[in-house]
Subunit: 472 residues, 2 copies
Amino acid sequence: MSSAPAPAAPAARVQEHISRTFDRHLGQVRRFVRQVSISGEDRGIGEMADLVAARLREIGARAEVIATARHPVVYGEIDAGAPRTLLLYGMYDVQPVVGERWSVSDPFGAELVEGHPQGPSIVARGVYNSKGPLACFLNVLESIREVEGRLPLNVRFMIEGEEELGSPSLPAFVTARRASLAADAGYFPGFEQDATGNAVLRLGCKGELFFELVCRGGAWGGPTRRAVHGSTAVWYASPPVRLAQAIASMFSLDQRTVTVEGFRDGAEPPGAEDEGLLAALAGRFDPRTQLETDEVRRFTHDLWGVDLLRKYVYEPSLNVDGIVSGHPGEGTKTILPHEARAKMDVRFVPRMRADRVVRRLRDHLDRHGLGDIELRVDHAFPWSKVSVTEAPVRAMVETCRELGFEPEIWPLQASSAPFYLLTDELGMPFVTGGLGHGARAHSADEYATVAGMELYERGAAIFLYRLREILG
Amino acid sequence: MSSAPAPAAPAARVQEHISRTFDRHLGQVRRFVRQVSISGEDRGIGEMADLVAARLREIGARAEVIATARHPVVYGEIDAGAPRTLLLYGMYDVQPVVGERWSVSDPFGAELVEGHPQGPSIVARGVYNSKGPLACFLNVLESIREVEGRLPLNVRFMIEGEEELGSPSLPAFVTARRASLAADAGYFPGFEQDATGNAVLRLGCKGELFFELVCRGGAWGGPTRRAVHGSTAVWYASPPVRLAQAIASMFSLDQRTVTVEGFRDGAEPPGAEDEGLLAALAGRFDPRTQLETDEVRRFTHDLWGVDLLRKYVYEPSLNVDGIVSGHPGEGTKTILPHEARAKMDVRFVPRMRADRVVRRLRDHLDRHGLGDIELRVDHAFPWSKVSVTEAPVRAMVETCRELGFEPEIWPLQASSAPFYLLTDELGMPFVTGGLGHGARAHSADEYATVAGMELYERGAAIFLYRLREILG
């Protein structure tokens, strides 16, 4: 990682072509985000999988839509006759929009907002997470083929439609198709510049456990089969109160501590490489920008610098995604509900294991006299982590530098993705991200800037040629 | 209250006429419940008010639909040229059905279920609470006029469409029309036999305070304007966790005690009349029947007999009607919500006051470091209470006895209604109830038995003649 060499000639030519044809490329992004593909609501999934396969064929790939237990995986291949192969892992599904207040009329309208605070942007579900980056990456492959005739690497594609559900079908898919997924490196595309333009690179992700707590009336008390009149709360116990007690019992009042005994069991402290990365990061990371971006007024912990970053990267989190009990609508309905449910997730850090966390949560409820509360695991997958020394990471760092950005390198991202399937199951070096800027994943007014998308594409072209050089 | 005298001749004739024409009467009940009238959703209110007014005119009343700030009151009068006047207070609105699982295809279908465990019954929203009893009472007036030509009492009608909203417009209505509501006694019709056939009479009701707790991100932490990605819970605090802490802080773990300091301030213990009633009740009341009816397996308190009844009647309750936060739908949406809301109600007992309870709740939140949680009062109204010695109560007791039932007399009902408007604002003696059986108010499969409705009507005929005698 010495000073950046001059760009390779093909990458320069491709970048020029990208800039010249970017209007067309942006059209491909909008085509992808206009197709609704909400995995959690089974909306538009088949249509989106077909669209992705069609796009792969347009850029010269062999592509097929492969059924799974739930939503299909789009598999594809471009054999460039190259000595090395890249596995492109992507996702074509998105989060629901129900309950969100968007400033554009249609979250799937792919509207170009000229006056966006970050500059002209597409404001739409999926444009940042993650159909936008996927569409841009495919545009780059198309440009390379148009300019150079052939790609510097063979590319295999595994593009799933269940990422937002925790990728339940992907492990079996990977196991069954190990041979056709073999590659020298893996890549998941993303727009990873922050709101101030810093290039950000994250060397892995936390594991995820998504579960539900369900409290219903039973032997402990409370209505068992239906809500009863609210006035009977004078002599019957309440499932929503009991669920609130369960949730409250898991946190200190200031929410700085998860009070589930053994919750962090197995968590390991940062090693030397990561401590070095955190120290470098602390000099650049601006906590105020983070708070402003998320519209939050303070961090839970009174920490700054390396200590704040270490919390973020190396602390597991316990989160309440939603609570539902009783009458969901407007107006008064005076009932004592028979059921209360909370959806919750744990993001766990290296060496922690989902099955152990589940046992600790179960033990906690039992010890607190809440043994009747059901803990239903929806899904879980492990953390994943790579080193700065691995080939695709080095290629991405050099890409950033070539375009004038010294990347902020994070040992981990706090959010989760099944990258372990590439790093641990398939055993390949891996990197995620790229240049470009977007934000508000899983939130209203998700967006990506137009200028950022063009920059992403130019970077991706460089990345592919650099990766070929480094892989040798 | 010596042994029951023989029925008055007119009442006997009217009862015979009721039994002969009951099929037609049941048709009137079904006509009322078939008209949707959900006050909380503004559905069918105008149509229902017009239907009630039309029915009043059919039975010979002068009737008008009087606008209020929200839903109209149906006011009516029958001048029978009698020396005494009864004020009939009724309601034409019902609870929502959303989220409930009914065994009939349409909660407003007024379906006759022949095989109902309690005998042939109408299973429908409002047939028990309270359009069924209202329709039956109007049937009785019609029968009296058909058989006897004139009523034993003048009757005034005040039938509101906001009872399930806490009657927000009724106090102003009563204040504005005090003169036209003047009467010697008040009555609210109901089917008050329990599932084993016991006749039940309740001498008043608890007060009600309905409020919402709203927790949003702010200076204390948490997302302020929109949900953010769930993984950021590692360094941001959570509004739903904070709301759960607020709710949990208000109850002991076993839910036997409301731990809000001063919550019961002003509550007075039962007087001699009520202790006597409770003692008599304890010999008859079967807690197991109550548990079976409500499908609950145990009471919160390990109490039986008078102690259990005293709790029910003289203990204020704090109840969670519903909680909403985050993604309401199916599937996973991994977010850190910016808002959590709980709808709650307090049922408070004699000498407690809603404004004081609100202050105690506010103080409790502030003292627990939860001062940012907003407490929004939706509505409140006082408790109301009458004595067994008052004329309409005596008339109702004698009615039950004449038909072979020795009533269980409860000093209060735990649920609430704005009866204080009659007892305290208009200052008249008052009674609620009647024979007949129904159940599942505010719940799926609300029902009333056909045999019970006929018995109610026969009792109501007796009641009117007895009341005329007692009023003198």
